[in-house]
């Protein structure tokens, strides 16, 4: 089923023409933004010179660092009065990345989500339980408004508290959920322990799973555990949040909405486009946003374009599930984390050394090993326990999730020199 059939199945030549038109409009709009105006001057490009998609390559990249440097609102292409919503992205050192959306931007974002719901067979008769964090995270509100467009009953459950999630599913006969892969596993486990068979006791049919990368095997396991169809969902705050790319009923790669985003795959080291079908870093240009469009944004996510047409008839190309990052960012429980954030917290604690080790295992268990400074030892076990707790709390305030903290002896952790390994990731997602 199509939400916007004409555009979703628009023949390639016409789609390319539409893309180019919107790209040129976007570049024109961005001349008003001092940051981009400066970039255009630097590279000597004029918007009129963008005559084909290939010319996009002559435009500069935009990075997360650019967003942080221009915080809070120096990259706006509209006046502040025209902005309607603010979302920030987690996982930064220092200032967060602030993304503004106009009324039209929000409606467009919702339409893209509606396409996703529709193409996976969700209708107004469905009951959608959004188990992702609301608040500043786009996984909450963006998905919520997209679901409302379809007309299904939307339950803004938010994450956690499995008992409450179950109660809602039982009493309101939830059929579709939006959830992280790790929480999907926890919930399946929780049901099993309670002796609840989702196939018999619940009305669940589908799950939109995203916010962190996971394997094909994990998808199958979740499907088997909950008796549902799982569809992969990809997005990032800088590009609206969820709804950038989504799987159709074929479950064979995620369609990127090319009337809204120009997609490129580059070699992260050189910035050059990779060959057809090769894996590289996904670069996205938003061409249908007015408040804060971004040109050639480096997502740091690694993927490849799947060649060939899709049986569903959509002409918007598909990308593979994300296979990794071209930086050292981690995603734990759907939250972006940079190891440098941990370093910053530890540096401010004199009782703790600067070295640390992050261990990830199970589904989403995170342990941070830190070294006790000998001078901070007063012989009291109780004080050590308090210190451990204090470190965990300070990390939680910075990272948005609370890791387990292990105090270890000074000098026992590998010393970080250059690109030393700070993370041991043994998760089975």
């Amino acid at each position: 089923m199509f939400w916007q059939q004409e555009i979703e199945t628009l023949e390639r030549p016409a789609l390319d023409v539409l893309q180019l038109k919107r790209l040129r409009e976007t570049v024109g709009r961005l001349e008003r933004v001092p940051f981009y105006r400066g970039k255009f001057l630097e590279t000597g490009i004029k918007p009129e010179e963008i005559k084909s998609a290939a010319d996009l390559r002559r435009l500069p990249f935009t990075t997360a660092a650019d967003l942080r440097e221009n915080y809070p609102d120096k990259m706006l292409a509209v006046s502040r009065e025209e902005t309607l919503r603010l979302h920030t992205s987690s996982g930064t050192t220092g200032k967060p990345k602030a993304l503004f959306f106009s009324r039209r931007d929000l409606d467009t974002a919702a339409e893209l989500i509606a396409r996703a719901f529709c193409m996976t067979g969700v209708t107004r008769r469905d009951v959608f339980q959004n188990m992702m964090s609301y608040g500043l995270f786009t996984g909450g509100l963006m998905m919520h408004y997209g679901a409302e467009k379809i007309g299904c009953l939307v339950i803004p459950a938010g994450p956690g508290t499995s008992e409450r999630q179950l109660l809602l599913m039982q009493d309101f006969r939830t059929t579709v959920i939006h959830v992280t892969p790790s929480y999907a596993f926890y919930f399946a486990d929780f049901l099993e322990k309670k002796g609840i068979d989702p196939r018999k006791n619940l009305a669940l049919r589908k799950a939109f799973v995203g916010a962190e990368p996971y394997t094909e095997e994990t998808r199958r396991k979740i499907e088997a555990a909950l008796g549902i169809d799982v569809y992969n969902s990809y997005g990032l705050t800088e590009m609206n949040g969820p709804g950038v790319a989504f799987e159709c009923e074929g479950k064979c790669g995620m369609h990127v909405w090319e009337d809204n985003f120009v997609l490129e795959i580059i070699n992260p080291a050189t910035g050059e486009a990779v060959g057809e079908g090769e894996t590289g870093e996904l670069v996205l240009t938003s061409i249908n946003r007015e408040a804060m469009p971004l040109l050639r944004y480096r997502t740091r996510d690694l993927t490849s374009i799947i060649p060939g047409p899709c049986a569903c008839g959509r002409t918007h190309r598909r990308i593979h599930r994300i296979t990794g990052r071209s930086d050292d960012m981690l995603i734990v429980r759907g939250v972006n984390i940079f190891p440098q954030q941990i370093e910053r917290v530890l540096m401010a604690l004199p009782q703790i050394g600067r070295n640390y080790l992050i261990q990830l295992e199970g589904l989403d268990e995170m342990t941070v090993k830190v070294e006790l400074s000998p001078s901070a030892f007063d012989g009291q076990v109780g004080h050590l326990a308090e210190l451990q707790n204090e470190v965990a709390e300070k990390l939680r305030a910075e990272l948005w999730i609370r890791p387990k903290v292990d105090l270890v002896a000074s000098g026992s952790l590998p010393v970080a020199e250059g690109k030393a390994k700070r993370v041991i990731d043994k998760r089975s997602l």
Binding site: L372, A376, F377, G379, V381, L384, A385, D406, A409
Partner: protein, 142 residues
């Protein structure tokens, strides 16, 4: 007031740590008279009564261990039922809280080693009640 110094050592709660600590002390020719280990999750604190606490501390610190000195009171009681009770009662009457505590009997002499908030005050209280509060040297030659 007679107080005694114990050596407190931080160690991870895993196999081999006690062996490492005791190896270092043995090499420094340190004699251990009393030992307690308190563990909490992934780490623990060993407290030792040794014949030369300063040397012991240095030797451990030299090998990278977090080690420090803790001041305690060592009080002697008769080795018979009710003796420990009188000590406990005496401290309770003065509202003195016993933190980490251990006790041992050697050569028919019963010694209680206690950590309190104010060791000097606790020592005075016990002395007034007629208990013998040991010096460092006496504690090491029980």
């Amino acid at each position: 007031m007679n107080t005694v110094k114990l050596v407190a050592v931080f160690a991870e709660n895993r196999p081999g740590q006690a062996a490492r600590v005791t190896e270092i002390l043995a090499r420094a020719n340190i004699n251990i008279r009393c030992i307690t280990v308190a563990s909490s999750g992934t780490f623990g604190v060993m407290k030792l009564l040794v014949n030369d606490p300063d040397l012991a501390c240095q030797a451990l610190q030299h090998e990278g261990f977090a080690a420090t000195l803790t001041e305690v009171i060592a009080v002697e009681m008769p080795d018979k039922p009710g003796a420990l009770h009188s000590v406990a009662q005496c401290l309770a009457a003065q509202k003195i809280n016993l933190a980490n505590t251990s006790g041992f009997v050697a050569n028919n002499r019963a010694i209680l080693v206690i950590e309190v908030h104010d060791p000097a005050q606790a020592g005075e209280v016990l002395k007034k009640q007629g208990f013998h509060v040991l010096t460092q040297k006496e504690a090491l030659t029980v």
